[in-house]
C-alpha cells in the first residue's frame, strides 16, 4: 500500500476516533487551563511550520524561488484584511506569473 493510501486511511481513522472519544469523555478532564492553553497553541505552531516548509523548502533543502513572491503577497493581503479566497488567489497569480515569465 502506498504512503498516500496509508496517510488517507490512517488520518481518517484517527480523526474519527478523536471526535468520537470527545463525545464520550467527561467534561471535567479538559477544564484544566494548562490543557486549554496547549490546545490553543499547538495549531499555531504546526500551521506556521507548514507555511515555512511549503514556501521555502524542496526535497529537504532550503530554497528561495517564485513561491517567496506568492507568499509575500498573501501576507500583504492578510495585513489588508482581505478575505481568504483573495489571499489564496493573489498568492497563486503572483507565483504563477513569476514561474511562467522568469
Amino acid at each position: 500500500m502506498s504512503a498516500f493510501w496509508i496517510a488517507t486511511i490512517g488520518t481518517s481513522a484517527i480523526a474519527f476516533i478523536l471526535k468520537y472519544s470527545g463525545h464520550s469523555l467527561p467534561q471535567r478532564l479538559l477544564e484544566h487551563p494548562r490543557i486549554q492553553r496547549i490546545n490553543a497553541l499547538i495549531p499555531i505552531a504546526l500551521l506556521s511550520a507548514l507555511v515555512a516548509v511549503q514556501s521555502f523548502t524542496e526535497k529537504g533543502k532550503l530554497v528561495i524561488d517564485h513561491r517567496l513572491a506568492g507568499v509575500a503577497v498573501a501576507v500583504l493581503a492578510l495585513f489588508l484584511k482581505a478575505p481568504f479566497p483573495v489571499v489564496v488567489l493573489s498568492a497563486a497569480l503572483t507565483s504563477a506569473a513569476i514561474y511562467n515569465w522568469f
Binding site: A3, F4, I6, A7, T8, G10, T11, S12, I14, A15, F16, L18, K19, Y20, S21, G22, H23, S24, L25, L29, L30, R34, R37, I38, N39, A40, L41, I42, P43, I44, A45, L46, L47, S48, A49, L50, A52, V53, Q54, S55, T57, G60, K61, L62, H66, R67, A69, G70, A74, L78, F84, V87, V88, A91, A92, T94, S95, A96, A97, N100
Partner: protein, 220 residues
C-alpha cells in the same frame, strides 16, 4: 423537533457555503501534492477536518512519511475531540446519532451552535446539525471540483498552486495570532522548521514545533 428559526438557517447556510468553498483549495492542493482525485475525496468524506486534511497533504507533499503526516494531522484533530466534550452534554445523543454527531463535530458546527445558544437550546441544536451537514455537503462537492481542476492543469506550479497551498495555511493561522505570545510562537516555529529541514527526515521539523507549543503552554 421545534421550528427552525430563519436566523439559524441563514447563519448555518452562509458558514457552510463560505467554508465549503475552501474545499476547492483543498482538492487542488491535495492533487498538487500527489494524491489521486479519489484519495482527495475520501479525505474530505472521512477525515472531514480542514486543517488536518491540509496538513496530511502538506507533509506528504514535502516528502514526509505517512506516519509523520498522520501524526501532524492528528495533533490538529485533537481540537475536534475537545469540541466533542463541549457538545456531548448539549446534544444528548446516543448510538448511531452520536456517531454522526461526532463526525460533523468541527470548528464551524461547534461555533455556530455555541453562538446560537444564547437564543435557545433548540436554536443551538439546529445550528449544530444544519452547519455540520451543510459544511459536509459543500466541502465534499468543492473538494471534487478542486481535485478535478488541478488534475486538468498538468504542471500545477504554472498555475501558482505551490504558493496557494502555503497561502491557505497562512490564512488559517493568521486569525489566531492575536497576542504577542502567539506571534512569538509562530515565528519560533517557522525558524525551527526551516533550520531543522536539512537535518531531520521530512515531516519531523513540522511535528517538532508541537513541543515548542507544549513548553510554552505548560509555562503559562
Amino acid at each position: 423537533m421545534s421550528r427552525v428559526e430563519a436566523i439559524t438557517i441563514r447563519d448555518s447556510l452562509s458558514v457552510s457555503l463560505t467554508v465549503g468553498a475552501y474545499g476547492i483549495a483543498f482538492g487542488a492542493a491535495s492533487v498538487a501534492n500527489g494524491f489521486s482525485v479519489l484519495q482527495s475525496c475520501l479525505l474530505s468524506l472521512l477525515t472531514f477536518s480542514g486543517a488536518s486534511q491540509f496538513a496530511v497533504v502538506g507533509v506528504i507533499g514535502a516528502g514526509g512519511s505517512a506516519l509523520s503526516a498522520i501524526a501532524t494531522a492528528s495533533l490538529l484533530g485533537v481540537r475536534n475531540g475537545i469540541y466533542g466534550v463541549i457538545m456531548a452534554p448539549r446534544l444528548k445523543v446516543k448510538g448511531f446519532r452520536r456517531v454522526i454527531a461526532a463526525h460533523i463535530t468541527i470548528d464551524e458546527s461547534t461555533g455556530v451552535a455555541l453562538g446560537a445558544e444564547k437564543r435557545s437550546e433548540s436554536a443551538m441544536r439546529h445550528g449544530f446539525w444544519l452547519t455540520g451537514f451543510g459544511v459536509f455537503f459543500f466541502w465534499n462537492l468543492f473538494t471534487l471540483a478542486g481535485a478535478l481542476g488541478a488534475q486538468a492543469m498538468g504542471d500545477t506550479r504554472a498555475w501558482g498552486l505551490d504558493s496557494a497551498v502555503p497561502a491557505a495555511f497562512l490564512g488559517l493561522v493568521w486569525p489566531r495570532l492575536e497576542s504577542k505570545r502567539e506571534q512569538i510562537l509562530a515565528v519560533a516555529s517557522i525558524i525551527f522548521a526551516l533550520v531543522m529541514t536539512p537535518f531531520l527526515p521530512a515531516g519531523l521539523p513540522i511535528i517538532g514545533t508541537a513541543f515548542i507549543a507544549i513548553v510554552m503552554g505548560v509555562r503559562g
